[in-house]
């Protein structure tokens, strides 16, 4: 391989304003590049800077804020900065986990976008030496049900008129100006995004052979044009067999393994750092194409190669492909890497250096082996039928040097791409959410005679209904470790050959963050942790995916900063440091941003998989108890952020529910103690749709009814039933244990209100002498179970379909 002394620097590119613009590089940034290099960059170098300095790779807008997150605890083995975070879970095992977004690609090409999102996060896990144990997804889509759909009997014209009035009065809706047919097209598009994303996730994860434990799926108008696909993966590794993405040892060979490099995904990272405009669909070639079969081979081959002891460091080629892995591995090890592109396995002929360096072809890894032992690595990859080629060496100088046919095409100091990338302290502007503080006058409370009907409508609403149609398409049982699959509060996996398990959950509420970013973010952490607790796990760490709009807008940056403060406060209070994650900005289409949507994944340790809980009532004759933290009364302002306000009133106002982190922590400790002592048969977090929905959901699995009394109170019944107070868990126990449970709760300063008994085939909820809700379980279960499928298969008028497909 050529040495530097024989080389002349690469030819400079002609840095016209247009060229810089297509690379997303500002004139100031270009000046920095010239300074770092001491000369004008070549075109390949400009491309390399453009992806490494993109928002997606450099975190240039978010870095200054991310520093405020808590990242340490006794259990944290690896915090942010590596491919995934790692925590110690005892018995010599460690758990690697991370969440990552694939939002932009999933809008442009839903199937491949979502599939490669799963592929990317799985590679991040097994790069660390961990075998992926489970995945979960947090998905957000635009509305899939026409809220304005006329009742079957109603006149179409009238209904449309009413629809427009409603749409205009709705506080936040990119679709507000759309009329009947347009709105139908939009819903049709949302259906196809949802179907594409779900089958993409299914196809990749199922073939790879990793169980998917569900996660959460929510629908809001603002995610039309900007669906969110956040994939959370978790893997197991022996604590003494963790691998890092760090190059070392001058002269060690740098080996390329896995799929060949093609032209797919060039500038994927840059695309993910821009807003969408008209014609963004044309960016489809920027989306990578996934091959889960190859990834499965790569997993087995990498884990086997690591066992040989000949691997020094390894990193996957994700965003910014070969570029990112080369400079980051060098930078972490304080060394450099020199590669010759002629040796890179290529799928297409005539690829330029620029294309090879920027390709985001999937299922590739870069590893550094011990010099003289590369044949041990090659033998493993040959067995699995994969390419493994030495493409370069570790060098002493801390630079990334790229050669093509022996000529230098890029020669860049590593740190100018990584640690010294631009960091922006973007301007922030406190922002007041443009919704009323108070409940609209035309939405009276306490007078509705048909609360059973309201419950039914809520159970059938997009956000609350069963997501069975989605998670049945995911293999949730492969690997035979699944203790609790999809459909509960959290997922639980056993760790083979031990008594222990791992619990995981995902949560995020964009609407609450929109109303109050800091409080909303605190709720996301609290609820994700609460869900892990309800499954029987002690929350020990968290990962976050921060989905926001354009950071160049001061109010978006302010939302971001507030969310970080909320996450930091809640993670500290609940003992779940953040070990890594992902930031996805520029989630805007035509200037319409999404709700600020931090999604939090929490991992918990289950001491014994014999001691877990599910949300489901298991037998009749049991006692239902509501555990809750003492909070300021939930009022009709807080109701404005609820599913009730969204679905029943059709409006948004007020603020998220109050939260007290100290009481939340106490509640979680209390529930864990009850589960550990074997005192409760079920535990269910009360969240979307309030207590009534939580009770109904507990009844469904085994079709066991209940006759319950709400605590006495003077608040309107709508609030008692559907209010979404924080820090509440519905549990059930055998009759003899009630007093003991109440004693334990009192010790934790948690209220434990006896509600009534399970049994029968009806759900009856009373307050005082009269029935507030009374209905057969079978009736509401059906509505809840079928709603999503019905919505997706609802008739689309024929005239809509061809037009939409034409595009």
């Amino acid at each position: 391989m050529a040495t530097q002394s024989l080389q002349t620097p690469p030819l400079p590119c002609r840095a016209t304003p247009e060229l810089l613009k297509t690379h997303g590089i500002t004139p100031e940034e270009y000046e920095r590049i010239v300074q770092a290099l001491g000369r004008e960059p070549s075109l390949t170098e400009l491309g390399i800077y453009s992806v490494m300095w993109s928002e997606h790779c450099s975190y240039k807008s978010s870095k200054v804020h991310l520093k405020r997150l808590p990242t340490r605890s006794e259990r944290v083995v690896q915090g942010p900065g590596e491919n995934a975070g790692i925590i110690d879970i005892g018995d010599g095992w460690a758990c690697a986990f991370k969440i990552e977004s694939h939002n932009h690609p999933s809008y442009i090409e839903p199937f491949q976008g979502a599939a490669t999102g799963v592929g990317g996060i799985l590679r991040d896990i097994f790069t660390m030496g961990a075998r992926p144990l489970a995945v979960m997804d947090s998905l957000r889509f635009g509305r899939i049900v026409d809220r304005r759909k006329p009742p079957a009997a109603a006149d179409r014209g009238q209904a449309t008129e009413r629809a427009e009035v409603q749409a205009q009065s709705s506080s936040y809706s990119p679709a507000r100006k759309l009329r009947g047919l347009e709105a139908k097209k939009l819903i049709h598009k949302n259906h196809s995004i949802l179907e594409g994303v779900v089958s993409g996730i299914a196809s990749y994860g199922n073939c790879f052979g990793v169980p998917n434990l569900g996660g959460e799926t929510k629908f809001e108008e603002c995610y039309f044009g900007n669906p969110l696909v956040n994939a959370f993966a978790l893997g197991l590794v022996r604590k003494d067999e963790i691998f890092y993405a760090k190059a070392s040892g001058t002269g060690n060979p740098v080996i390329y393994v896995g799929a060949k490099t093609g032209r797919d995904g060039i500038h994927g990272a840059t695309m993910a750092s821009e807003e969408f405009r008209e014609g963004s669909e044309q960016k489809r070639p920027n989306v990578q194409v996934g091959d889960p079969f190859l990834e499965k081979l790569l997993l087995e081959a990498c884990l086997e190669a690591m066992q040989t002891g000949a691997v020094v460091g390894i990193q996957d080629m994700g965003a910014a492909g070969l570029t990112c892995s080369t400079c980051e591995m060098g930078a972490r090890g304080g060394v450099g890497i020199e590669i010759e592109l002629d040796h890179v396995p290529q799928r297409e002929i005539g690829m330029t250096a620029y294309e090879i360096m920027l390709s985001e072809s999937q299922e590739r890894m870069l590893l550094v082996a011990e010099s003289g032992r590369e044949h041990e690595v090659f033998r493993v990859f040959e067995k699995w039928g994969l390419d493994a080629v030495t493409i370069g060496r570790v060098i002493n100088e801390p630079r990334m040097r790229v050669l093509e046919h022996g000529n230098i095409v890029a020669d860049i100091p590593n740190t100018s791409l990584t640690d010294d990338a631009p960091v922006y302290r973007r301007p922030m502007q406190p922002w007041t959410v443009p919704v009323p503080k108070d409940k609209p006058a035309n939405a009276p409370l306490g007078a509705n005679p048909d609360l059973t009907g309201v419950l039914k409508r809520l159970l059938a609403s997009q956000n609350i209904c069963s997501k069975r149609w989605i998670h049945e398409q995911y293999d949730s049982m492969v690997q035979t470790n699944t203790v609790q699959g999809p459909g509960g509060d959290g997922g639980v996996m056993r760790i083979k050959d031990t008594l222990r398990g791992l619990a995981m959950s995902l949560d995020g509420n964009g609407r609450w963050c929109y109303l109050n970013p800091k409080l909303g973010a605190m709720h996301a952490v609290a609820e994700a942790a609460r869900k892990v607790v309800c499954a029987g796990g002690v929350p020990v760490a968290a990962t976050n995916c921060l989905n926001f709009g354009n950071p160049e807008k001061p109010h978006i940056m302010w939302q971001f900063s507030e969310v970080i403060d909320g996450l930091a406060e809640a993670c500290t209070a609940l003992g779940t440091p953040i070990t890594g994650g992902n930031v996805s900005l520029y989630n805007e289409t035509l200037g319409e941003g999404i709700y600020p949507t931090p999604v939090v994944g929490v991992v918990g340790i289950v001491e014994s998989i014999e001691r877990t809980a599910t949300p489901h009532f298991r037998s009749p004759g049991r006692e239902a108890i509501l555990l809750s933290a003492a909070l300021a009364p939930y009022d009709d302002r807080q109701l404005g952020s609820s599913e009730y306000a969204k679905e029943i009133v059709g409006s948004l106002w007020g603020e998220p529910p109050a939260l007290d982190l100290k009481s939340e922590a106490a509640l979680q400790k209390c529930v864990l103690e009850l589960i550990e002592k074997g005192l409760i048969e079920s535990a269910h977090d009360c969240s979307d749709g309030g207590l009534a929905v939580a009770i109904a959901e507990s009844c469904f699995r085994h079709e066991i009814g209940a006759e319950l009394h709400l605590p006495e109170g003077s608040e309107p019944l709508e609030i008692a039933l559907f209010g979404e107070q924080a820090s509440r868990v519905l549990v059930c126990c055998v009759p003899g244990d009630r007093q003991l449970i109440q004693q334990i709760a009192a010790k934790h300063t948690i209220q434990a209100e006896f509600l009534g008994r399970t049994g029968g085939d009806r759900l009856v909820i009373r307050r005082g002498p009269s029935d507030a809700v009374s209905v057969y379980i079978a009736d509401i279960k059906n509505v809840w179970a079928q709603a999503l499928e019905c919505a997706l298969h609802s008739d689309v008028p024929e005239r809509v379909v061809p037009e939409t497909l034409d595009k």
Partner: protein, 213 residues
């Protein structure tokens, strides 16, 4: 009794099957690599689930050409025990060791959920510990689980079953779907066959649920 679990590139339930035999059945078990010609003196072969060779063309279409499959065919012809689970069942059908073929699920989607199966015959080595008519809950997880065979084969399968001696050049139904609500992803109810036993009296079987799970 020594078990061998085949490993194709893309098998993803090989470790599951291995674990169940080793940890639950407590029997000796070994992996058998797809490119090998050696069954290593195993007394029973498990063809595990997964996506052998990616299954991009058609499930099992490439796996049937794997070197190890020649040995499995020979082993089966000699009366050896072969159990195909999920993708393994698809491979056995594709390799002609079991009659019929598997089409895409009626809903054209991958389905993963527990289904109820009724034991149809108990005179197979794989169901001998069950009682006839017993209902088992077994998870499924597949895209192509819609069993199809022509009318004559189906009639023969049913006949073999009624006779109960379960032999013949063809096959025998070991499990059938239980009731309409079982959610079996086959399109036509009369063709709902979940597990087949084929062979010459000693037995070889495909099973469609993920028994290992």
């Amino acid at each position: 009794m020594k078990f061998g679990v085949l490993v194709f590139p893309g098998s993803n339930c090989d470790h599951d099957a291995y674990h169940v035999i080793a940890a639950a059945a407590k029997q000796p078990v070994t992996f058998l690599w797809h490119a090998s010609h050696d069954l290593e003196n195993c007394d029973a072969i498990i063809v595990p689930g997964g996506f052998a060779y990616g299954d991009y063309l058609r499930t099992g279409a490439i796996a049937k050409f794997a070197p190890i499959m020649q040995e499995v065919s020979r082993f089966a012809a000699g009366g050896g025990l072969v159990l195909g689970i999920c993708n393994g069942f698809q491979i056995l059908c594709e390799a002609g060791l079991l009659p019929g073929a598997l089409m895409r699920n009626a809903g054209l989607k991958y389905i993963c959920k527990p289904v109820k199966l009724r034991v149809e015959s108990t005179d197979t080595p794989f169901t001998s510990a069950c009682t006839e008519g017993e209902v088992l809950e077994i998870p499924i997880g597949h895209m192509e689980g819609n069993y199809f065979c022509d009318a004559d084969t189906l009639a023969e399968l049913n006949r073999e079953n009624l006779r109960g001696d379960g032999w013949g050049a063809r096959a025998q139904i070991a499990y059938g779907p239980c009731g309409r609500a079982s959610g079996n992803p086959c399109a036509e109810p009369e063709r709902r066959v979940c597990a087949l036993r084929a062979g010459d009296g000693i037995c070889q079987q495909g099973r469609f649920g993920h028994g290992s799970q």
